[in-house]
């Protein structure tokens, strides 16, 4: 049983460019959340997808958008990249219950130069 998989593992982009990160949830999970983790910080909630809709959103600008597909996989898109967007982007999947643990992928390390 595969866990949460993310691609790519590493990415280097130039300021102003756009990036798409991908996530496949753990088998059986229907909810996907995205987090941004800057170096030395805790993960910061970006948004959560359930039934192909954005259900909750953290304090991130509209440059951050996402999508969930019918097979529950998800994408995170970031437009007009800034140097400050450099971080580890984590995807977490779970069941649609409030009291359930989140399973994290290994993350995508994004560097903006």
């Amino acid at each position: 049983d595969a866990g949460v998989t993310q691609s790519p593992t590493h990415l280097i982009k130039t300021r102003g460019q756009q990036v798409t990160l991908r996530c496949s949830p753990k088998s059986g999970h229907d909810t996907v959340s995205w987090y941004q983790q800057a170096l030395g910080q805790g993960p910061q909630f970006i948004f959560q997808y359930y039934e192909e809709e954005e259900r909750q959103r953290g304090n991130f600008p509209d440059r951050f958008s996402g999508h969930q597909f019918p097979n529950y996989s998800s994408e995170l898109n970031v437009n007009a990249l800034l140097l400050g967007d450099s971080a580890l982007y984590l995807c977490a999947s779970s069941f649609d219950r409030w009291d359930t643990e989140a399973f994290f992928g290994q993350g995508t390390r994004l560097t903006v130069v």
Binding site: S33, Y35, Q41, P43, F45, N59, L90, E101, A102, Q106
Partner: protein, 111 residues
């Protein structure tokens, strides 16, 4: 917005010593989860606490949830080098499943 703070930020112990990290939320939580992140790795779920005053143990790890459901602690007895990593608490403010992570405590264990 909700804030979750942890202390200390960093602790360095000798193997065999005990370690405790404390987690405090600005708002009441419906539950709290603890995660461990090894250097270069991703957060891995350790445990979830739901009830006020709840105490749970996992071998050398003891987790507590405060009576007011605004604070929590993780205590490790007789640390080992395999305990190295950053420990995060993550709170759920209500029945919504938006986890707010704490600032983390980085644990270093040396022989």
């Amino acid at each position: 917005g909700q804030q979750v703070m942890q202390i200390p930020q960093y602790q360095h112990v000798q193997e065999g010593e005990d370690f405790t990290t404390y987690c405090n939320s600005s708002t009441t939580l419906s539950n709290i989860q603890w995660y461990k992140q090894r250097p270069g790795g991703h957060p891995v779920f350790l445990i979830q606490l739901v009830k006020s005053g709840e105490v749970k143990k996992q071998k050398r790890l003891t987790f507590q949830f405060g009576e007011a459901k605004k604070n929590s602690s993780l205590h490790i007895t007789a640390t080992q080098t395999t305990d190295v990593g950053t420990y995060f608490c993550a709170g759920l403010p209500g029945t919504a499943s938006k986890l707010t992570f704490g600032t983390g405590t980085r644990l270093q264990v040396t022989l």
